[in-house]
Assembly symmetry: C2
Homo-oligomer: 407 residues x 2
């Protein structure tokens, strides 16, 4: 009797019909003898509808009360799901964050799980019940409701799998697994059988939306095998697991891109210690995530500082940086939204030289100019002109031999 | 600094605009120096919408899970309310059933409050916060969510007022108070300044919908003064309080009617011990509430048994009773839906003779025939033809001098 944690996202439980379908799938696994803990997200659209309701009350809703409000979304899913399972003749019990004893810190809207007391869940499992747990929510030490932020249900599932020492954490989603590239762009993209936590972390940071980053970190820390698979298809998906010998043989696992990027350059800044901090501090303080940062000397005693942020925050960032530019006497500030980031990720890079030069060569062959480069141990990212995105992804996918046999 | 519990019903919080209005009213009372605990119902229509969602899943939803589902209604109201109060610059904190420590038995859908631990509420009040408590919900000893059934928020409010030893429990509703008769029928109906718990209990049992019966029983038991008043008007409503000398001077406090009544008669039943039980047991077992029961000998060894139930259950009751009639060899079963119950209620009846005869005389003067009579210490009810309902109410209202000065 394997203990399995399953997680179904918002689109998988988007209607009462879909909830019944999920209940069928869960009971099938239960019939095979598995002990099941099922984590559900709110029905698709529900969380946004609740947030809109709060905006009718006030522009800046109190964070504690916003968590109380949005936590109802998952409460609705799990109760409907438990009803569906029971109506099929199986025993089931829904548990909210406080009942499942998911203890978090008090950071409303972005709480972190500190501890899970599994007593209640194990008791329900021992009585042969399927246990439905509300994703995304927990409770702080004073008994206040907290939520884990967007994508939080993935984290709930992995944290539960870790605490319960589950054999596996199955993440059911609207894609069939993790692909070597976006199949919408790259028709030869291949579903990966398995991928390491490290690679999955890089892919998620680079814009792949299959798994929430924190859930991967959790899985890595507690060595929880994750199975990413489709809610709507029956075939196997992708296993996200600890690195193994086999994986290192592969140079590159996947190619990803992110179009939601913009570049900002401050030209001819007086070059003195702490200048990067001076320029970027207001941006950090505004909560804007800065990705790549490059500093180049431009003339005697002057330097150019370039960085990227998301397009979503482009105008706000530009405004903040222009104020600093005036203050410190920089020549001007340039902005460019027509860029994209293309990245390759692979454990093999650590032990094989020449991966970077192969990437640059591939892009050069297609006449694609690289304006910024950033690397990590298992990743290389290049900023290119946005219009070349698809071309770059396909060329890299081919160059590293990631695809299915040519058809 | 008086501690006051206020309760606002579903129509009072039926939209985000209305929730803001309630927040304004509450903060006004807070500014006067009152310590406030505010109990809210779900936004009007919300509970029905949730129940409909459960019906899409299954015809007979699991009671435990149905409580988890419908409890979200009040969770939404209190979080939106707390946001509204905070956006006005006052401190506020919402508490769910488990946080407010409202302990109930495990009767899902109709749980009874056993105990309230007031520590958390008092702590929040001591920090000068307005405390918003979810009505209608509690928690059983295993930490499961329970609900108190329709009208449960009144009970939550009164129970909190009792536990907190509040100076008063204000029930804000869509009427201005308790009236001597329905103002829609009786233009001279008068808003009562005060009424005893006993009278209010009779009025509520007889169909007045102002207060939930259990909340009145609770208030009576713990001597909590209830102030029934309008959410939309500023004037004083009706105080529901312990009996006092002044009240006993009044013969009759109010006239009420109930059109949702039907009469069923089994004719010529063999008269033997236990026959009433034999006839009514299937009806009781079907969960149908039987109100008046009258048994009259009709011929040697035969008897007629007549009882009333609600029109809503008329057909079902008729079917059940016809089966029994066949079995025991009764002559026939008659049904009549064109009836209504008219009642007068008043503490004064206990010490004054002649109230009943004055009621019968008044109806006789109007040529209204009485087909059944039932009395309690402070109430007399008569079954009459439905078409005379308004006439009977007005005649009794005048006869007992309940109205405002004739205008």
């Amino acid at each position: 009797m394997a203990l399995i944690v399953q997680k179904y996202g918002g689109t998988s439980v988007g209607s009462t019909e879909k909830i019944k379908k999920v209940a069928e799938r869960v009971t099938e696994s239960h019939k095979k003898g598995n002990r099941l803990v099922v984590v559900l997200s709110a029905m698709a659209g529900q969380t946004d509808a609740l947030i809109n309701l709060s905006k009718e009350i006030t522009g800046i809703p109190d964070p504690r009360e916003l968590d109380v409000l949005v936590a109802t979304g998952e409460q609705i899913s799990i109760s409907l799901f438990a009803m569906a399972v029971k109506s099929m003749g199986y025993d089931c019990c829904s548990l909210l964050g406080f009942q499942a004893a998911i203890h978090t810190d008090q950071a409303y809207g972005k709480a972190r799980i500190k501890k899970i007391d599994t007593d209640r869940i194990l008791k329900e499992l021992d009585e042969n019940r399927i246990v439905a747990v509300a994703g995304f929510q927990g409770i702080d030490e004073s008994g206040n409701i907290t939520t884990l932020g967007r994508g939080g249900s993935d984290t709930t599932a992995v944290a539960l799998a870790a605490a319960l020492k589950a054999a596996q954490c199955e993440i059911f989603t609207d894609v069939e697994g993790v692909f070597s590239a976006d199949p919408n762009i790259c028709t030869r993209a291949r579903k990966l059988e398995s991928i390491s936590y490290e690679e999955m972390l890089e892919l998620a940071s680079l814009g792949a939306k299959v798994l929430d980053i924190r859930s991967i970190e959790f899985a890595k820390k507690f060595n929880v095998p994750i199975h990413v698979r489709s809610s709507f298809a029956r075939n196997e998906g992708t296993m996200v697991v600890a690195e193994n010998k086999e994986m290192e043989k592969v140079l590159v696992s996947g190619v990803v891109f992110d179009r939601n990027q913009a570049r900002i350059t401050m030209v001819k800044v007086p070059d003195r210690p702490g200048i990067a901090f001076k320029i970027l501090d207001p941006v950090f303080k505004a909560g804007i995530v800065v990705d790549m940062i490059v500093q180049n000397p431009s003339a005697e005693g002057l330097t150019d500082l370039t960085f990227t942020a998301t397009k979503t925050h482009f105008q706000e960032t530009l405004k903040l940086v222009r104020e600093v530019a005036k203050e410190i006497g920089a020549e001007k500030v340039l902005g460019d939204q027509d860029i994209a980031k293309v990245s390759i990720v692979g454990l093999g890079m650590r032990n094989h030289a020449g991966v970077a030069s192969k990437m640059f060569e591939t892009l050069a062959k297609e006449n694609i100019n690289i304006s910024m480069i950033s690397t990590s141990e298992i990743k290389i990212s290049c900023i290119i002109e946005e219009k070349y995105t698809e071309l770059a992804v396909r060329a890299l996918h081919d160059a590293f031999g990631l695809g299915n046999e040519k058809d």
